[in-house]
Symmetry: C3
Subunit: 349 residues, 3 copies
């Protein structure tokens, strides 16, 4: 029987299981350009090798979320091809910068399993590691995902919900950021004078602009990551499904929000850690995405006086501007909110 | 009179004529990335320089069909700008691997001409050669195409139908595949344990997933190849035509089918030869493409024990899943079938 | 107060002001490939490093208009985020070739300011310089743009309309074109035998083919240039606006017209200067763009016998073929005309 990639079902996973994922992927200048064309981020460090070199990188690093999406994409055929929903993220850390020419691979460990009472689905907790060709770890994160069972009667191979951190501790931040030469950091070229010290906890920032998503765009992006989740690509089957249409990869909203966040966070040049995240509502082509952020906390990094970290809560909406910082409505989520993301970003001090 | 690229008509071709085509094209990492974004293929050899180098390539090779499309694209302004239909392919061989940085040029020879009885059109048989900057042949293939005449009264410049092989002989396969170090071929990273010996003649494989095509996608792809066939790009004129809309380049369906075929043929890492192919029905934006394959034959390669060849019949459909392997309906083609392709692919032994 | 990039209003500009623009941008092979995919130009010099090297370039140069769009894009957040309309261009000169790997930055000078009688808007005249990482000037041009005032009562910071040249003088052309080795210029590979001497002043050329524009395409292109003008990306707000839909970046029509102009101008391999340009009417997704050109003048370049310059008037239309060279209708513009561009292009002699 030839393997045609039907993916795992909930009862196939066992606690402690390690899965090496397929398709190592060399990131190139081509991926970087296409990512720019799809999202339009303007952070100077990722846009200019001259800028990056001046401040201390050996070359311009690949956008952190592009690294994330490629690592995430590798896990899909093994972890979430039969998923109902991607429920959350925790403990994400960027561990080394990635440059054009690096080859990424991914490995996942099943760290928790909890069958749902219906016995039709269960939640798998998965810690994924992304590595370079030389074994250097570049990213790790935990996600939990609700996965269908093939057979409701089949026993789950474990029953454990792992403890996950609310947030990555500041002492763990910065591994992917070389020492930054602040004297060479040009705040005109970077697009804003605002640095670490200019932000205050509790401050809210409307990122102002909006981006309408087209089917071709999210499909190209998601294929670029070799993410094979069928709901993003197959209108023929989606037409029969719950939404009647293709669902956009949740990471697309993250990248859009990150690009939009340049308006107000132009010097937040590096996403150092992902504390948590939730895809609050589905996003479809034709919708326009807006975003706003709140500074949840600030942290100095032990032993470093070049950069500081902002803990940011970035919220993305569809078809609603963010001047009034939409989040909740009554007891629930504002229906316009699609993404609720909590992460640490580094800025020059 | 300035040349504005009106193309040749059937009576302009003469038997034995050789045409050097315009626009040499350097393939770069950018082309490779965009091709990945458009089709999402996951074959490890073309995705990872680390994987490719480990098994014996000097670098990751460019996807075989991307090479084909670029060579084919060069021929369009001279051969098929005034074509009615691309009728078939035969005798296609990939002769050397192509790497980012290589520049491709194409030359064609008119090897057959057969005017149709209406005298309004004729069939031209064309053997095309693709070469690198140093003269290395990378690809050759024959296609035949029905071309309009400018003037029905004009005499055809030849009357000859060439004999074409039903299939490329196994002894001719493998020129574009260096010796493969099987010890270094990682069957986890490649996505499947299935190798040459695991396939049986007659075996049918449903590639399961489907991909919906958007206008922007096929236009970007086809322009990437510098293919100038107007029916793919010009809705204003297409609106008045036979279909009322833009027709997708037939090669787009080939690349989609190839990408889909990873589900079941993950280790068929190299397309070595094209035995034949037919664009059975037109494909339009909005349709979802599915595919299935049958193993027509197996062949060892003389003097090589690293790889073996599967002769594959890959069928693509629109808006119909392939679980039941659709092909014929009564005496004709199943109306869902758009592509019927016969080729040799190499797998590790 | 955090800077969220709200841009300048007319009264913020002052005569003589110099603005260094944000986000230095390294152009890579990825940008070049994506640009090819979006427009499909076939000029041999920009398509093939082998061809470019043979005739005297150290490598294939980046398409002139891609350089222009990236430099232009940098100016948008500072100059035209609050613009009503981009009124015109003058005095554009390409000053050095750009290669993959070069990093571009842009600086603008306010050379004229003229408030409109309504006091709600004014026209700013801006000279922009694009430079490489080593300070080499690659492009300069003037544009004038109607910009909103924040406060109609605020005084304008100057009242001066600069004198601008009708056309760039031939003695200023060619700085970005190295000496061309005509013996190595292959007129088969370049796609046409027509060289400088084959064109006559007054000659009109229909570029024949048409290209339909999709929303995803112009959004990807405009983001690739990091151009942040919101009207190109935000359907949610555009729906409430004057057109009810996203407006395509004017430069998109320029690149389409340039790509189409290969049919008839295949050897006009380098745009040396921009004499003037006007976006006559808005372009929307779904429209098909056609183009034609007239040779306005011919010029030899002082001290050079390798290349000559054609002064070209290229007109682009939407949803109208150009066989009859549409331009005027009665006293005004033909309603199909979207672009009226006057530039110098170099051809082999």
């Amino acid at each position: 029987m030839i393997n045609t990639g039907s993916g795992h079902f909930f009862e196939d996973f066992r606690l402690g299981q390690t899965i090496r994922h397929a398709t190592p992927r060399t990131i190139t200048a081509g991926d970087v350009a296409l990512y720019t064309g799809l999202f339009g981020a303007r952070f100077a460090v990722q846009s200019s090798s001259a800028f990056a070199k001046a401040i201390g990188y050996p070359d311009m690093p690949v956008d952190d979320w592009l690294v994330f999406h490629i690592v995430f994409g590798k896990t899909v055929p093994d972890i979430s091809l039969n998923a109902v929903a991607n429920l959350g993220y925790a403990g994400g850390q960027f561990l080394a910068p990635v440059y054009a020419g690096d080859t990424l691979t991914a490995t996942s460990e099943i760290i928790g399993l909890k069958e749902n009472s219906s016995r039709k689905t269960g939640v798998a907790y998965v810690r994924t590691h992304g590595c370079k060709q030389d074994g250097t770890a570049v990213l790790e994160y935990v996600r939990w995902v609700m996965v269908n069972k093939r057979d409701p009667a089949a026993p789950a191979q474990g029953d454990h919900v792992p403890r996950l951190p609310d947030a990555v501790e500041p002492r763990l931040l910065g591994a992917a950021c070389p020492p930054i030469n602040l004297k060479a950091y040009d705040f005109i070229l970077s697009g804003s004078p605002d640095r670490y010290g200019d932000y205050a906890v509790g401050q809210k920032i409307d990122h102002v602009a909006g981006i309408t998503v087209e089917e071709a765009e999210h499909q190209i992006a998601t294929r670029l990551y070799q993410n094979t989740a069928r709901i993003h690509f197959d209108q023929f089957n989606a037409a029969q499904g719950r939404f009647g249409r293709r669902l956009i990869y949740g990471g697309h909203a993250i990248s859009l929000a990150r690009a939009l966040s340049f308006n107000g966070l132009a010097n937040a040049f590096h996403v150092a850690a992902i504390n948590g995240g939730r895809h609050v509502a589905p996003l479809f082509a034709g919708c326009t995405v807006f975003a706003w952020s709140e500074v949840l906390a600030k942290a100095e990094l032990p032993g470093r006086d070049d950069v500081g970290a902002l803990r940011l809560h970035t919220v993305a909406t569809k078809d609603q501007i963010c001047a009034s910082f939409p989040l909740k409505a009554g007891d629930g989520d504002d229906p316009a909110v699609i993404l609720d993301l909590d992460y640490w970003a580094l800025l020059p001090r």
